[in-house]
Subunit: 200 residues, 2 copies
Amino acid sequence: MSAPSSLENLIEALRCLPGVGPKSAQRMAYHLLQRDRPGAQRLADALQQTLSVLRHCQRCNTFTETDICERCQSSKRDHGLLCVVETPVDMNMMEQTQAYSGLYYVLMGRVSPLDGVGPRELQLERLLARASDGVVREVILATNFTNEGEVTAHYLSEMLKSRGLRVSRIARGVPVGGELEYVDPGTLAQAMRERKSLAD
Amino acid sequence: MSAPSSLENLIEALRCLPGVGPKSAQRMAYHLLQRDRPGAQRLADALQQTLSVLRHCQRCNTFTETDICERCQSSKRDHGLLCVVETPVDMNMMEQTQAYSGLYYVLMGRVSPLDGVGPRELQLERLLARASDGVVREVILATNFTNEGEVTAHYLSEMLKSRGLRVSRIARGVPVGGELEYVDPGTLAQAMRERKSLAD
């Protein structure tokens, strides 16, 4: 005599959330039913609403409710700069810095041969077309500094440079506020190698 | 230029889940949209379905899809035993032990004066009526061994005994597999006080 099937079903469905195992799924389901039915209703509606209206921007791939996202349409952004990131979250992180006012291209992934993701799966020819619109003057590669992100950046760099585009990579180094004692040796080695001259 | 409003809305709605702050809500929303749209749809459906069909059993208060839950209707359970627990999850925990074959009464809470939850809010007269059906011969109090659970048990015990009902409390002590070194002093003190004679 177990839980009612709709409840079992909800517990199972909650497990699609990242980091949610059977125990927390159960806790979440009971929490919603015992203490927050309005919250559960709002969540159901928000999921439904998001699934029906949210799609990918036809220019930069990020999530949008229109064909072309607000950012790609904005005249306040510098359309000559194109920053390539792996995911919409990375794009948000970059936006939060307020240090960049160009446009983006979201790969929605990274080159990862082990997972069967190659240049074709990432549809890199779309990026190539986007970057070759005659307006973009510099492509800034901001993929992660993981093995896969680095491979992706290398691949993109070769591909874009062969088309005569100017390509740059965001800087690596000791994080702001970072103490040398706690920085990993690889980062420190890079910081040393890529040191900047302070002479003017 | 922030995220589209439906996405913002979903991130906000996910925060109704226990233990989910702004960062994980964002991670969950993007995960669902980037990698598991079918999962998001299943979750939306499951929430909607559960909210519409799930209600409280009229006898024991647990979640059910029928007026009286399967367990309360079952002839395989001992209707003379009534175990009082705080929540449906506690009931599930007890069921998983397979050490009990009676029925339950779920308080859906505990006496907690600080939160404004008194006997009236818990509708304890319903429990009284339930326990006085002439079939129940023993009420087993299985509220938590927290301050509030203990107060609740004490209150229930007085109330039920004054009606001439037999009342018991589940045992306290060192957990099975527990080492004395790691048990808190309060538990150990109780285990000492409630020691059982091994003489026959």
